[in-house]
């Protein structure tokens, strides 16, 4: 079996997540070659074949052109699977490649079981096993689901070039907002999820954080709704934290949230839903109404 792995490069640097693709290929027992749009001084440490397009010419975000470059690599390599990370680069580009080749795409694979791909669904509460109906397929893999594999060595480079006029023009990056709290330093984080119900309840969660000498965290909907500042957001599009104690209050446990906190030493979740996926990473799942439990706990700690 042959895989063509699509590496990632951003703001002039190879992204470490590229090595998760190699971990996936190993789990699949497949031979792999890599494709990347990058600069020659930022190549992955990998001894196989590398299809390389120059980022100076092809741009970091130019999906129409990158699709054509990947197509060239596919023509030469004839892989069974074309594998992307399920990332802002991967989920944007993968369907374009699948459509061009008219082959199946299986999105956000988290495991391989008995030759089939397992993917999350229903906000991570359930799983599906999926089988491509086409001979070749495009796959995207869940961030953090497969081990980082850094084989070392230097690649045999095959250069690719293409030119294409596109109706999309990349303008540039906008940096993340400056943080007013550095959650990474906190020993205790108490996080408000959508289950707290309303903005007026945020101080109740904050009070427990203070009682434990910790910081307030927030899930994304709480930030999007303007209840808490973005600098408190935990997850793939917020901060990654690993405190001694993480208390998730009314957080369902979506993969993008878990990615930011699952390495915490001890995790307590308060949720009224016994089946909430946060239970998969929690050391203790307290099945309760968060607005009853949290004030009671803060009061008890205060005594």
């Amino acid at each position: 079996m042959k895989t063509l792995l699509i590496g990632e490069y951003r703001e002039g640097r190879l992204l470490e997540s590229t090595y998760e693709l190699l971990g996936f290929a190993q789990a699949l027992g497949a031979d792999s070659s890599l494709f990347i749009v990058a600069r020659e001084d930022q190549l992955p440490a990998f001894a196989g074949k590398l299809y390389l397009a120059d980022a100076a010419a092809a741009g970091e975000y130019n999906p129409d052109l990158h699709r054509e470059l990947i197509f060239q690599a596919v023509e030469q390599e004839q892989p069974d699977y074309i594998v992307f990370l399920h990332s802002s680069y991967g989920w944007d580009l993968a369907p374009r490649v699948a459509a061009k080749l008219k082959i199946a795409q299986v999105s956000e694979i988290s495991a391989i079981t008995a030759g089939e791909f397992e993917v999350g669904c229903c906000n991570a509460k359930m799983r599906r096993s999926v089988k491509p109906a086409t001979e070749k397929a495009v796959l995207t893999i869940q961030a953090g689901a497969f081990p980082v594999l850094q084989p070392g060595g230097s690649p045999q480079i095959r250069k690719l070039t293409a030119s294409l006029s596109s109706n999309l023009e990349f303008v540039g990056y906008e940096p993340a907002e400056a943080k007013d709290v550095d959650l990474a330093k906190a020993e205790v984080i108490v996080t408000a999820g959508r289950g707290i119900g309303k903005k007026e309840n945020v101080p109740v969660i904050h009070a427990l954080a203070k009682a434990l000498g910790g910081e307030l965290g927030a899930s994304r909907p709480v930030v999007d709704a303007g209840w808490v500042e973005h600098s408190h957001q935990v997850g793939t599009t917020g901060q990654t934290v690993s405190p001694k104690l993480y208390i998730a209050c009314g957080v369902s446990g979506a993969i993008q949230h878990l990615a930011g906190m699952k390495k915490s030493d001890f995790i307590i979740a308060i949720n009224k839903d016994k089946d909430a996926p946060i239970g998969e990473v929690a050391d203790v799942l307290v099945v309760a109404d968060v607005m009853q439990f949290v004030p009671a706990m803060t009061a008890k700690l205060g005594r």
């Binding site: 990332s87 802002s88 680069y89 989920w91 944007d92 369907p95 061009k100 199946a104 795409q105 999105s107 956000e108 669904c121 229903c122 906000n123 509460k125 359930m126 799983r127 599906r128 096993s129 999926v130 089988k131 109906a133 086409t134 596109s166 109706n167 999309l168 023009e169 990349f170 540039g172 990056y173 906008e174 940096p175 993340a176 020993e187 000498g213 994304r220 909907p221 930030v223 973005h230 599009t237 917020g238 001694k244 104690l245 369902s252 001890f266 307590i268 839903d273 016994k274 089946d275 998969e280 990473v281 050391d283 203790v284 799942l285 309760a288 109404d289 439990f293 009671a296 706990m297 008890k300």
Partner: protein, 258 residues
């Protein structure tokens, strides 16, 4: 200008999911339904653009599914869409993203839309494919995961969300498809007068067989709960007792209360 927004009806994610009789998707018994969260942002953004452009602009909402999807169509109309298309399909849930995209593109290709809005993914299926596939099938420009959208002089300025809070800005010529991410805007609640007004708006019904010409490219073979990792304790009962238990566990297992 002609705008299209595609919406999906999904179950409330706090539901208990059980496999259906085929074992490949969830059973619909006892589920409450709502508009896919990502699509709410798509509808809001489309309605805002419709308001910006005024009477020269028309916004259509499209949904695929059985009769129950009429609810999300009505919601989008009450939020400000002008008209609707209901693609009637009793087995929309059994179709793969390629087929769903083909249905949408099959309808849209006769309509010469300028901008198509979709959510970046659905909450139940989560494939994040349909919007991009529609763009590819129609030959439209496309950008995904928008947390910023502006339209002026025929050009879209799209702000894409990347990892760790970084954003990427791109300019797109129309016709284009944009897929909307959480937080793009604050979706409005339909007001009572607008709900009443929406009742008079046109909903065209089209049987799916008129639009679908494609076979699926992938198949679901099983729908099941995740394998239990175990290890965690589940505590239930009286709140006062739960607090006592949790504090005892904190003293025992962590250093934070010492």
């Amino acid at each position: 200008m002609k705008l299209l927004v595609c919406v999906k009806q999904v179950p409330d994610m706090e539901s208990r999911f059980k496999p259906d009789s085929r074992g490949v998707w969830f059973s619909e018994t006892d589920l409450a339904w709502r508009m896919n969260e990502y699509d709410e942002y798509a509808v809001e953004e489309a309605v805002k653009l419709r308001e910006q452009l005024g009477e020269s602009c028309e916004l259509t909402v499209l949904s695929i599914g059985p009769d129950r999807v009429g609810e999300v169509i009505k919601k989008a109309l009450a939020m400000g869409a002008d008209r609707a298309v209901h693609v009637q399909d009793l087995d929309a849930a059994g179709k793969d993203p390629w087929q769903i995209a083909s249905i949408i593109a099959g309808y849209a290709k006769e309509q010469s839309y300028d901008i198509i809005f979709t959510g970046m993914q659905s909450q139940d299926r989560g494939s994040a494919q349909v919007g991009v596939l529609v763009a590819e099938l129609l030959g439209f420009t496309c950008a995904t995961t928008l947390v910023g959208f502006a339209f002026a002089d025929g050009v879209i300025t799209a702000k894409r969300e990347l990892e760790g809070g970084l954003k990427g800005v791109a300019k797109l010529q129309i016709p284009a498809v944009v897929t909307c991410q959480l937080g793009l805007n604050i979706p409005r609640y339909p007001t009572l007068p607008n709900i009443m007004k929406a009742k008079r708006k046109e909903i065209a019904a089209i049987p799916v067989t008129e639009l679908l010409k494609e076979e699926p490219l992938a198949a679901t073979t099983s729908f099941h709960p995740p394998a239990k990792k175990g290890g965690g304790v589940v505590l239930e009962g009286d709140v006062g007792e739960l607090v006592e238990k949790v504090i005892a566990i904190l003293k025992d297992k962590t250093a934070v209360l010492r």
